[in-house]
Subunit: 120 residues, 2 copies
Amino acid sequence: MKIQEEIARCENMCVHTDIVDSAARNMPDEEVLYDLAELFKIFGDSTRIRILYALLEQEMCVCDIAQLLNMTQSAISHQLRVLKQSHLVKFRRDGKTIYYSLADSHVHSIISQGMEHVEE
Amino acid sequence: MKIQEEIARCENMCVHTDIVDSAARNMPDEEVLYDLAELFKIFGDSTRIRILYALLEQEMCVCDIAQLLNMTQSAISHQLRVLKQSHLVKFRRDGKTIYYSLADSHVHSIISQGMEHVEE
DNA sequence: CGTTCATATGAATAACTGTTCATATATAAT
DNA sequence: ATTATATATGAACAGTTATTCATATGAACG
Protein backbone atom coordinates (compact mmCIF):
# COMPACT_ATOMS: atom_id res chain seq x y z
CA MET A 1 0.00 0.00 0.00
CA LYS A 2 1.37 3.34 -1.02
CA ILE A 3 0.65 5.38 2.08
CA GLN A 4 1.99 2.73 4.40
CA GLU A 5 5.15 2.43 2.37
CA GLU A 6 5.76 6.13 2.63
CA ILE A 7 5.22 6.08 6.35
CA ALA A 8 7.42 3.05 6.76
CA ARG A 9 10.14 4.74 4.81
CA CYS A 10 10.26 7.58 7.30
CA GLU A 11 12.51 6.06 9.88
CA ASN A 12 12.39 9.00 12.25
CA MET A 13 8.73 8.80 13.21
CA CYS A 14 9.57 8.17 16.83
CA VAL A 15 11.47 11.40 17.31
CA HIS A 16 10.87 13.48 20.42
CA THR A 17 11.14 16.90 18.85
CA ASP A 18 11.67 18.84 22.05
CA ILE A 19 14.49 16.57 23.17
CA VAL A 20 16.23 16.66 19.81
CA ASP A 21 15.85 20.44 19.57
CA SER A 22 17.30 21.05 23.00
CA ALA A 23 20.17 18.65 22.33
CA ALA A 24 20.85 20.36 19.01
CA ARG A 25 21.13 23.72 20.72
CA ASN A 26 23.69 22.42 23.19
CA MET A 27 25.90 20.57 20.73
CA PRO A 28 29.28 22.21 20.04
CA ASP A 29 30.35 22.83 16.48
CA GLU A 30 30.93 19.78 14.33
CA GLU A 31 34.54 20.81 13.95
CA VAL A 32 35.22 20.92 17.68
CA LEU A 33 33.79 17.44 18.22
CA TYR A 34 35.75 16.18 15.26
CA ASP A 35 38.97 17.55 16.75
CA LEU A 36 38.06 16.03 20.09
CA ALA A 37 37.60 12.62 18.50
CA GLU A 38 40.91 13.03 16.70
CA LEU A 39 42.61 13.77 20.01
CA PHE A 40 41.21 10.67 21.69
CA LYS A 41 42.11 8.62 18.64
CA ILE A 42 45.75 9.38 19.43
CA PHE A 43 45.33 7.95 22.93
CA GLY A 44 43.44 4.99 21.55
CA ASP A 45 46.46 2.95 20.56
CA SER A 46 48.38 0.92 23.11
CA THR A 47 51.77 1.71 21.61
CA ARG A 48 51.14 5.43 21.82
CA ILE A 49 49.65 5.17 25.30
CA ARG A 50 52.73 3.30 26.46
CA ILE A 51 55.00 5.93 24.94
CA LEU A 52 53.08 8.72 26.64
CA TYR A 53 53.06 6.85 29.92
CA ALA A 54 56.82 6.32 29.75
CA LEU A 55 57.34 10.02 29.11
CA LEU A 56 55.29 10.96 32.18
CA GLU A 57 58.36 10.25 34.27
CA GLN A 58 61.22 11.60 32.19
CA GLU A 59 62.40 12.46 28.72
CA MET A 60 63.64 9.57 26.60
CA CYS A 61 65.33 9.10 23.25
CA VAL A 62 63.78 7.06 20.45
CA CYS A 63 66.04 4.11 21.07
CA ASP A 64 65.27 4.05 24.79
CA ILE A 65 61.56 3.87 24.06
CA ALA A 66 62.07 1.14 21.48
CA GLN A 67 64.03 -0.85 24.02
CA LEU A 68 61.50 -0.26 26.77
CA LEU A 69 58.55 -1.37 24.67
CA ASN A 70 60.47 -4.09 22.85
CA MET A 71 59.63 -2.67 19.46
CA THR A 72 61.63 -1.54 16.45
CA GLN A 73 63.10 1.94 16.22
CA SER A 74 61.10 2.51 13.07
CA ALA A 75 57.75 1.70 14.66
CA ILE A 76 58.48 4.06 17.56
CA SER A 77 59.66 6.80 15.26
CA HIS A 78 56.47 6.57 13.22
CA GLN A 79 54.35 6.86 16.33
CA LEU A 80 56.41 9.72 17.72
CA ARG A 81 55.67 11.58 14.53
CA VAL A 82 51.94 11.15 15.15
CA LEU A 83 52.35 12.37 18.72
CA LYS A 84 54.45 15.30 17.54
CA GLN A 85 51.86 16.34 14.95
CA SER A 86 49.18 16.23 17.65
CA HIS A 87 51.29 18.47 19.87
CA LEU A 88 51.35 15.88 22.62
CA VAL A 89 55.14 15.54 22.70
CA LYS A 90 58.03 17.89 22.07
CA PHE A 91 61.70 17.17 21.52
CA ARG A 92 65.17 18.59 21.88
CA ARG A 93 68.36 17.62 20.15
CA ASP A 94 71.56 16.79 21.99
CA GLY A 95 74.28 15.78 19.54
CA LYS A 96 73.07 12.76 17.64
CA THR A 97 70.37 11.99 20.16
CA ILE A 98 66.85 13.42 20.14
CA TYR A 99 65.05 13.45 23.45
CA TYR A 100 61.26 13.38 23.53
CA SER A 101 59.09 14.65 26.37
CA LEU A 102 55.46 15.52 26.98
CA ALA A 103 54.30 18.77 25.45
CA ASP A 104 51.93 19.87 28.19
CA SER A 105 50.16 18.83 31.37
CA HIS A 106 46.91 17.85 29.67
CA VAL A 107 48.38 14.51 28.72
CA HIS A 108 48.81 13.67 32.36
CA SER A 109 45.28 14.61 33.36
CA ILE A 110 43.67 12.88 30.39
CA ILE A 111 45.49 9.65 31.15
CA SER A 112 44.64 9.96 34.84
CA GLN A 113 40.94 10.34 34.12
CA GLY A 114 41.05 7.32 31.84
CA MET A 115 42.85 5.29 34.47
CA GLU A 116 40.16 6.04 37.02
CA HIS A 117 37.58 4.60 34.69
CA VAL A 118 39.63 1.52 33.85
CA GLU A 119 40.58 0.66 37.41
CA GLU A 120 37.16 -0.43 38.63
CA MET B 1 73.37 -4.42 31.42
CA LYS B 2 70.71 -6.93 32.22
CA ILE B 3 67.77 -5.40 30.43
CA GLN B 4 69.93 -4.59 27.46
CA GLU B 5 70.75 -8.26 27.13
CA GLU B 6 67.18 -9.38 27.64
CA ILE B 7 65.73 -6.98 25.12
CA ALA B 8 67.89 -6.76 22.03
CA ARG B 9 65.13 -5.43 19.80
CA CYS B 10 66.58 -2.01 19.09
CA GLU B 11 69.49 -2.57 16.78
CA ASN B 12 71.12 0.70 17.80
CA MET B 13 73.49 1.01 20.73
CA CYS B 14 72.22 4.33 21.99
CA VAL B 15 70.19 3.01 24.91
CA HIS B 16 70.45 4.79 28.24
CA THR B 17 70.18 1.84 30.58
CA ASP B 18 69.36 3.78 33.72
CA ILE B 19 66.54 5.67 32.02
CA VAL B 20 65.05 2.54 30.47
CA ASP B 21 65.31 0.63 33.76
CA SER B 22 63.61 3.33 35.76
CA ALA B 23 60.88 3.70 33.14
CA ALA B 24 60.36 -0.07 33.11
CA ARG B 25 59.85 -0.08 36.87
CA ASN B 26 57.19 2.61 36.66
CA MET B 27 55.18 1.18 33.78
CA PRO B 28 51.80 -0.31 34.73
CA ASP B 29 50.92 -3.82 33.63
CA GLU B 30 50.58 -4.36 29.91
CA GLU B 31 46.97 -5.29 30.42
CA VAL B 32 46.07 -2.05 32.16
CA LEU B 33 47.58 0.06 29.41
CA TYR B 34 45.83 -2.07 26.82
CA ASP B 35 42.49 -1.48 28.54
CA LEU B 36 43.26 2.22 28.74
CA ALA B 37 43.93 2.36 25.02
CA GLU B 38 40.71 0.45 24.39
CA LEU B 39 38.81 3.03 26.43
CA PHE B 40 40.22 5.98 24.51
CA LYS B 41 39.57 4.16 21.27
CA ILE B 42 35.87 4.39 22.09
CA PHE B 43 36.12 8.17 22.42
CA GLY B 44 38.20 8.34 19.26
CA ASP B 45 35.31 8.31 16.83
CA SER B 46 33.33 11.43 16.08
CA THR B 47 30.00 9.62 15.90
CA ARG B 48 30.48 8.12 19.35
CA ILE B 49 31.78 11.41 20.76
CA ARG B 50 28.71 13.18 19.44
CA ILE B 51 26.43 10.54 20.95
CA LEU B 52 28.12 10.85 24.32
CA TYR B 53 28.02 14.62 24.14
CA ALA B 54 24.30 14.58 23.37
CA LEU B 55 23.68 12.30 26.33
CA LEU B 56 25.50 14.66 28.69
CA GLU B 57 22.33 16.74 28.80
CA GLN B 58 19.54 14.16 28.89
CA GLU B 59 18.56 10.64 28.00
CA MET B 60 17.56 10.05 24.39
CA CYS B 61 16.10 7.23 22.35
CA VAL B 62 17.91 5.72 19.38
CA CYS B 63 15.72 7.51 16.90
CA ASP B 64 16.26 10.89 18.56
CA ILE B 65 20.02 10.47 18.30
CA ALA B 66 19.77 9.41 14.67
CA GLN B 67 17.75 12.52 13.90
CA LEU B 68 20.09 14.78 15.86
CA LEU B 69 23.19 13.48 14.11
CA ASN B 70 21.48 13.04 10.76
CA MET B 71 22.48 9.40 10.53
CA THR B 72 20.66 6.13 10.03
CA GLN B 73 19.07 4.30 12.94
CA SER B 74 21.25 1.29 12.15
CA ALA B 75 24.51 3.19 12.38
CA ILE B 76 23.49 4.70 15.73
CA SER B 77 22.35 1.36 17.07
CA HIS B 78 25.66 -0.25 16.16
CA GLN B 79 27.58 2.48 17.95
CA LEU B 80 25.32 2.33 21.00
CA ARG B 81 26.18 -1.32 21.24
CA VAL B 82 29.87 -0.45 21.38
CA LEU B 83 29.20 2.17 24.05
CA LYS B 84 27.07 -0.31 25.99
CA GLN B 85 29.77 -2.97 25.91
CA SER B 86 32.29 -0.44 27.18
CA HIS B 87 29.97 0.44 30.07
CA LEU B 88 29.84 4.07 28.98
CA VAL B 89 26.06 4.16 28.47
CA LYS B 90 23.12 2.41 30.09
CA PHE B 91 19.51 2.12 28.94
CA ARG B 92 15.94 1.64 30.11
CA ARG B 93 12.92 0.42 28.22
CA ASP B 94 9.65 2.33 28.10
CA GLY B 95 7.19 0.50 25.87
CA LYS B 96 8.65 0.29 22.40
CA THR B 97 11.19 2.97 23.11
CA ILE B 98 14.63 2.43 24.63
CA TYR B 99 16.20 5.42 26.30
CA TYR B 100 19.97 5.65 26.53
CA SER B 101 21.91 7.67 29.09
CA LEU B 102 25.46 7.96 30.37
CA ALA B 103 26.60 5.14 32.64
CA ASP B 104 28.76 7.17 35.00
CA SER B 105 30.37 10.52 35.64
CA HIS B 106 33.75 9.58 34.19
CA VAL B 107 32.47 10.22 30.70
CA HIS B 108 31.85 13.83 31.59
CA SER B 109 35.29 14.40 33.08
CA ILE B 110 37.14 12.61 30.28
CA ILE B 111 35.39 14.71 27.65
CA SER B 112 36.02 17.88 29.65
CA GLN B 113 39.74 17.20 29.88
CA GLY B 114 39.89 16.54 26.16
CA MET B 115 38.00 19.75 25.44
CA GLU B 116 40.50 21.77 27.42
CA HIS B 117 43.28 20.45 25.24
CA VAL B 118 41.40 21.02 22.00
CA GLU B 119 40.28 24.55 22.80
CA GLU B 120 43.66 26.23 22.54
C1' DC C 1 86.36 14.92 3.26
C1' DG C 2 83.94 10.33 4.36
C1' DT C 3 82.16 7.40 8.04
C1' DT C 4 79.25 6.31 11.79
C1' DC C 5 75.32 6.58 14.47
C1' DA C 6 70.54 8.12 15.78
C1' DT C 7 66.49 9.08 13.76
C1' DA C 8 63.14 9.76 9.93
C1' DT C 9 60.41 8.32 6.10
C1' DG C 10 58.08 6.12 1.85
C1' DA C 11 55.88 2.13 0.23
C1' DA C 12 53.63 -2.13 0.98
C1' DT C 13 50.94 -5.17 3.60
C1' DA C 14 47.77 -6.94 6.93
C1' DA C 15 44.49 -6.07 10.27
C1' DC C 16 40.88 -3.36 11.91
C1' DT C 17 36.66 -0.45 11.88
C1' DG C 18 32.39 2.29 10.61
C1' DT C 19 28.58 2.40 7.63
C1' DT C 20 25.08 0.36 4.69
C1' DC C 21 21.73 -2.97 3.45
C1' DA C 22 18.71 -6.41 4.45
C1' DT C 23 16.51 -8.65 7.89
C1' DA C 24 15.38 -10.14 12.66
C1' DT C 25 13.43 -9.35 17.21
C1' DA C 26 10.30 -7.58 20.40
C1' DT C 27 6.74 -4.74 22.12
C1' DA C 28 2.34 -2.31 21.25
C1' DA C 29 -1.92 -1.47 19.01
C1' DT C 30 -5.84 -2.82 16.33
C1' DA D 1 -3.70 -12.99 15.52
C1' DT D 2 -2.16 -9.50 12.49
C1' DT D 3 0.08 -5.34 11.67
C1' DA D 4 3.01 -1.49 12.89
C1' DT D 5 6.85 0.43 15.18
C1' DA D 6 11.43 0.83 17.64
C1' DT D 7 15.55 -1.23 17.97
C1' DA D 8 19.12 -4.83 17.09
C1' DT D 9 22.14 -7.52 14.26
C1' DG D 10 24.84 -10.21 10.57
C1' DA D 11 27.36 -9.77 6.42
C1' DA D 12 29.78 -7.13 3.15
C1' DC D 13 32.31 -3.28 1.65
C1' DA D 14 35.23 0.76 1.86
C1' DG D 15 38.28 3.38 4.19
C1' DT D 16 41.77 3.69 7.72
C1' DT D 17 45.92 2.45 10.30
C1' DA D 18 50.02 0.15 12.59
C1' DT D 19 53.94 -2.31 11.54
C1' DT D 20 57.75 -3.92 8.62
C1' DC D 21 61.35 -3.39 5.34
C1' DA D 22 64.43 -0.80 2.91
C1' DT D 23 66.47 3.37 2.54
C1' DA D 24 67.28 8.33 3.40
C1' DT D 25 68.63 12.25 6.23
C1' DG D 26 71.44 14.75 9.17
C1' DA D 27 74.65 15.69 12.84
C1' DA D 28 79.18 14.52 15.00
C1' DC D 29 83.82 13.31 14.62
C1' DG D 30 88.12 11.35 13.03
